[in-house]
Amino acid sequence: MQTITITFRAEVPKPRREAVLEAMARTSGVLKASFLKAESDHPEIARTAYLSLATQADVEAVLTQLRQLPEIEAASLPAQRRLM
């Protein structure tokens, strides 16, 4: 499974953010589209979301699609972290 993290622009209202995630969930290869913490009232956390993608999904195509959306401030593949 692969993950894409998303930051919505601060001015985008929650219903519009939800609609974007619902649309992304229907995209080929996307298994799940969700807010990081849906109930958070912290403004920075509330605009963070993620997509879970199937291993064979075309990640670059999904990233390109996300970055073309006016509601999205940033979409990226998270850097790998491991034990030290």
Binding site: I6, T7, H42, E73, S76, P78, A79, Q80, R81, L83
Partner: protein, 321 residues
């Protein structure tokens, strides 16, 4: 325990007016914890090991044992005649940020456990919302933080939370910059040996804040067996598959790593916050550096990319800061 003697732990605790940081909240984002370990029982204030959206990804067990080791260094029960002593009796808030399924690592040609990115961001967000005082991150990687990781670190630091992270263990590969240690505002920790020289694996770099003992550090491990990962064997389809497990010890063991140095500094930060007026992360860093012992490898320098400002001295931190 040489590491506690080196940072003058017993003398610090004997200082007149020493305040145990019982109300300071230290977060450990790692492989989990075994709360029932005889040296940790009753010491864990909270343990979060599941994400509501991915309930099957991660069980309660600390399979690798890394988080149990780190948490023991910070806060194992003191003076119980069992095993080790932790540095302090702060509140321990544990987040497991690794899932239970190892992935193939092309570099090591083995199956190892990686941080789950969603569990990691979720834990950082919890730390923001709960306004923890100190965060210990004995993890790292060479990739620049993405927008979301950077945003959460910026928010944590703006809240006044002290964030401590491991410099990394790739010195023999030229000390590549590792994040989150290299994120601005994070207190990056290197590892030193018994003779106060730099550990053979400890990354150097201009972002290092200070050093702490990080070789042969005795601490707690889960009482149940577990493993670091698995060797890779070639399957019938030509693809790598899991082979023999690389087992770890149980109960206690001595481990090396900047991962093991980092919790010394996280615990020391909790002690500082308990014994002085509340201060932000930048002020904590200043006090840790000002009271660190200059070590011979630094020569006459105030700062050295192997050691930062020197090796942690808890006694001086408590008595001079």
């Amino acid at each position: 325990m040489w590491n506690l003697a080196k940072i003058r732990w017993a003398e610090a605790r004997a200082t007149a007016g020493y305040q145990e940081p019982t109300t300071i909240r230290v977060a450990v984002l790692d492989t989990g914890i075994e709360r029932e370990h005889p040296d940790l029982v009753g010491r864990v204030t909270s343990y979060t090991h599941q994400h509501p959206d991915i309930p099957d990804a991660s069980g309660e067990r600390d399979i690798i044992g890394h988080g149990t080791h780190v948490a023991g260094t910070i806060g194992a029960v003191i003076g119980n005649e069992v095993g080790i002593n932790g540095i302090c009796q702060c509140e321990l808030h544990i987040w497991k940020i690794f899932d239970d399924v190892p992935d193939f690592d092309a570099f090591s040609q083995s199956f190892v456990y990686f941080v789950d990115p969603v569990m990691y961001l979720w834990a950082l967000a919890d730390c923001v919302e709960q306004r923890v005082d100190v965060v210990n991150l004995s993890i790292g990687g060479g990739g620049q933080p993405d927008h979301q990781e950077q945003l959460l670190f910026d928010t944590l630091l703006a809240n006044g939370t002290t964030v401590v992270a491991a410099m990394g263990n790739e010195r023999q590969f030229g000390s590549p910059t590792s994040f989150p240690a290299a994120i601005a505002g994070v207190i990056a920790v290197g590892a030193t040996k018994l003779n106060d020289s730099v550990a053979s694996f400890s990354n150097r770099g201009n972002h290092i804040a200070l050093s702490a003992p990080g070789v042969a550090i005795w601490s707690t491990l889960p009482t149940q067996p577990g493993q670091f990962g698995f060797e890779a064997i070639v399957g019938p389809d030509g693809q790598p598959r899991e082979g023999k497990a690389e087992r770890r010890e149980t109960d206690y063991d001595a481990w090396d790593g900047t991962s093991m140095a980092t919790p010394h500094v996280a615990a020391a930060s909790a002690v500082l916050l308990s014994n002085r007026d509340r201060m932000n992360s930048a002020a904590v860093r200043t006090q840790l550096q000002a009271t660190a012992d200059r070590v011979p490898g630094m020569g006459d320098a105030e700062f050295h990319p192997d050691y930062g400002a020197g090796r942690l001295n808890l006694l001086r931190l408590v008595s001079e800061a």
